[in-house]
Amino acid sequence: MWDFEFTFEAMPDLLNGLLTTVQLTLIGYSIALTLGLLVAIVRRVPIIGGVLHFVMEFIRTTPLIIQVVFVFLLTPANISAFTVGVVVLGVHYAAYTAEVYRSGIEGVAKGQWEAARALSLPTSRTWGAIVLPQAIRKVIPALGNYLISMFKDTPLLFAIGVTELLTQAQRVGSESFRVVEAYTLVGLLFLVVSIPSAIIIRRLEKRYVAV
């Protein structure tokens, strides 16, 4: 019933798709980590912070897929679907990471801020040497979870035709009429990546939360 010959034929295409999926995840995640941190810091500024909070809340409570399609339709044709996908993915997840960073920053003891002030450290040093190192350390596991979530959200980019794993599966599946194998393999490939990553994150959790 299961066609092994097809499995071997389809594998290169699927692995290619998986590679794109991993690239999307890693680039998108770097955007989310950087942008999220910026947002978390700027959110502390009055008024601008409030507006930013509302924008981020809006991004967080509306579906990623409609955001992707919307931005894709608005961008000029010479920008690739991959670029659009990776940027929207990154910005969407920045709305989540910003909340994670915020909780980390708020968790830094008040005395640390006061000590930095008493030593009259400049703002950049207060953030860079005192607050952020303590805040980020605590939220590493929570941030790691979003890496896995993001990986699992990349199939949505199927909607704008990025040739990631699901798109490839649909292509090889419809060319050969072996739909069952194609989609089952996608599921298995997802597990092959996400289960080991989940184990790594759990290790990180033990290591960082314990201290």
Partner: protein, 241 residues
Amino acid sequence: MEFLEQQLPRYVDGAWITLQLTVGGAALAFVLAMVVGVLGTTRFWWARAITTVYVETFRGIAALVVMFWFVFAFPDLTGFELDPIFAAILALGLNVGAYGAEVVRAAINAVPKAQVEATVALNFSWFQRVRLVVLPQAWAQMLPTFGNLIIELMKATAVVYLVGIVDLTSVAQQIRSATGETFLAFGVAFVLYYLLAQVLIFGMRLLERRANQKLGRAPAGGGLLSLLRPPTVGTQVGVAK
């Protein structure tokens, strides 16, 4: 304004489908989460094995992939065609249920051990212990994360247009191709999604407050308006989806 007048009924139809998918998916996810989550706290190894396999499988695979599998691969395999809405609810429910099961398991395990020991001392049956002592406490612990999960579920329903269901996202795209008004067509959908999420958040906070009041952890009463701002005590960072 004219745009809204003409198109609003279609948006409402789309939003109605989105709401049905959310409620259906949430119901299935809730049942799965409760059953599988409780199984994960028992002392039988086979029950815990079921929990682990289910949770790791459906947390590891994107809901969209599961949905495609049910819609395209399942009929090929068995000869039965699934109604797309049913397939979508199944995929979403299985996916969110896996996250929920972990939440339920963790919340039950977080109930202080002395509480369980007290029920043993009072000669409670297993059923009495779970229903009267463990679940009410675990319930209050689960609700904030369930609130996050239901928002994630609502957002995840938007992918169903890829299997041909006419939900809110699908309506927005149809209207956009009919009118060419990208901004307006999508803007209305974004606002409706946002409002739907706010309603869900509000409802979950209501449930949370009731659960805490029953445990005597929150003062009784308190106006509905106070629910509009996030709770200050016990707020936690959302568990990743």
